[in-house]
Symmetry: C2
Subunit: 347 residues, 2 copies
């Protein structure tokens, strides 16, 4: 899922996203609540109409941003009091508020509202936090049950439990008992080392139903995505393709390229040979480097197109290899090619 | 002509420009000479190939930027010594150098290298400056004559003479005597009041051949463009459509809209009713306002598309009215509608 934080996948039109084959995008409940507000979006016909995106939208619950961006938080049983990061307006979001905001946005997949503990987190703190998240999960489900059937979006649970294996298992089992349309693993990619991130996934996924979508939130590098797929994950959202593009960095099967670098100044080849994206079909690394150096918007636009194509194509390839029964070979070859290059360029 | 200062019309792909019906764009000799350099562009196949634009390109001579952007200038009979505005590198551009840079870029229409006097400019200074520009015009033409016939781009003269009627006439007559493929009026829109700008055009155009393209450089607002067309001008380049878009300002037949303004917060209508551009077909003023307030690149992209469509459509309409013999009515109605609104919004 390309990330459309503020009702736009950065620098991209919906038409371009459709052209890249994006099936679904993510919207940010916290950001849209703060600006322009879900009530305004609702009066204008909902998020799909507002941003002219006619395919599915998943909204996060706002939990992650409340705990990472907002100031002066006070967590109670009811929810979280905070001041927003833009103008400090005092705001409250609890499980029901989060559900209502996501309903007003017109989301197709609604995420439950969870507490996101910091990393690292002691067993005791993580356990207390998880219990609150489980109680909130019950309230989200109760809110959903009270909605008229025809208006119900899909509702996904979120596994928490920090780096503690038995808490991850407990969290997953509790969610499955409540029953959701899909299951995410949250509290990953929050500053922990990569092996811990893999372990958090390994400690949760086996307890989630195979026939429900399983979603790793906020990940990751291309090899991480492949490794997560190998561990049974089906869905991802990631800001890296557009964020790194704005910094002049492009993804290739051999690793990332920083297009600001001098060796690309006269390089007539595309970002990646054989790539079918608009940027690679029409423009050279030399031209892209010029645009990035000159701080021209077209530079980050073209690299965003390439990077989103790269990520969307990566998951398309993984799916095809799974169907063909060749995923294991694909995984090994992709991960070793990508890493080999990173070591070379670091040398 | 949309302006492509640094080998890109800001925030636009060549494909989008073609979709808007742009027939020709302008490139900036000074900027491209400073970065990435015409030799690099030439080795990569020329400016058309470098930026993937397969329609005509007109390049200015660099004169205007040398006199407005560069530092520590020393003007001699040979040309201008200066330090570029990016890193202060000492550089020289004279008539022949300018021609060679434009040739290396692969320009289709090359502008002669002129001195651009500041505004206001005494009669004596303007006269001395004009004499130098005329001597440089001879040298540009001589350089052009010495080129192999199959490699010759079109070469345009530039009328100077500041606000002095007889100098404008003298300049125009001298250029016509030398003989060029087209004639521009330069030294306009350099800080003078609008009536002086019109007078500068009126003092030059009658002395330029009717069957050659006549080009007013660096203009203007939509009513100014219409007024220039009424005075016999055929070509324009203007940064306003893309520059104002980056500031959240959109053009309409009734005047400009600052989409940051609060009244647009819930406005479901497009920038301009009936407009056929991509932005107006898909997005509301409310959405565009949100994007501009949130500093999202898609906002300036969509307004750039609308504004370029507005300008290109304006000259298409003017052409159609000239052919139909209804230009005078079109001019009066367009200019009065546009101005009426500006007075209203200022009240």
């Amino acid at each position: 899922m390309p990330v459309g934080t503020q009702a736009t996948v950065k620098a991209m039109t919906p038409e371009e996203l459709r052209g890249l084959g994006a099936q679904i995008i993510l919207g940010n409940t916290y950001h849209l609540h703060v600006r322009p507000g879900e009530k305004l979006i609702s009066r204008l016909g909902g998020l799909h109409h507002f941003m002219a995106w006619d395919r599915p939208i998943l909204t996060d619950s706002g939990g992650f941003q409340v705990f990472s961006l907002a100031k002066l938080r006070k967590i109670t049983e009811q929810g979280v009091h905070f001041q927003n990061h833009l103008d400090g307006t005092p705001t409250f979001i609890g499980p029901e508020t989060s559900m209502e905001i996501q309903r007003d946005l017109g989301s197709d997949i609604v995420m439950l509202f969870d507490e996101c503990p910091p990393h690292p987190c002691s067993y005791e703190d993580a356990s207390k936090s998880l219990d609150l998240t489980i109680r909130w999960a019950h309230r989200c489900r109760a809110w959903w049950d009270a909605q008229p059937e025809e208006n119900r979006p899909l509702l996904f649970g979120i596994v928490q439990g920090s780096s503690h294996a038995d808490l991850r298992e407990k969290s997953a089992r509790a969610l499955v008992e409540i029953g959701f349309d899909g299951y995410a693993v949250g509290g990953v990619s929050v500053g922990e080392p990569e092996y811990e991130m893999f372990r958090a996934i390994e400690n949760a996924v086996p307890f989630l139903p195979q026939d429900s979508p399983r979603y790793a939130m906020g990940l990751g590098t291309p090899p991480q995505i492949i490794e997560m797929i190998a561990r049974g994950v089906d869905m991802f959202d990631c800001v890296l393709p557009t964020r790194l593009a704005r910094n002049g960095t492009a993804f290739t099967a051999a690793g990332t390229l920083n297009l600001k670098n001098a060796p690309f100044a006269e390089d007539p080849s595309p970002i990646e040979l054989g790539c079918e994206c608009h940027a690679c079909r029409h423009f050279s690394r030399a031209y892209l480097r010029h645009l990035v150096k000159a701080e021209e918007i077209l530079g980050l636009r073209l690299i965003s197109i390439h990077n989103l194509h790269f990520y969307l194509n990566l998951t398309r390839q993984a799916r095809a290899h799974i169907i063909q029964g060749t995923f294991q070979q694909f995984r090994e070859s992709f991960v070793s090619n990508y890493k080999a290059h990173r070591e070379t360029s670091a040398a």
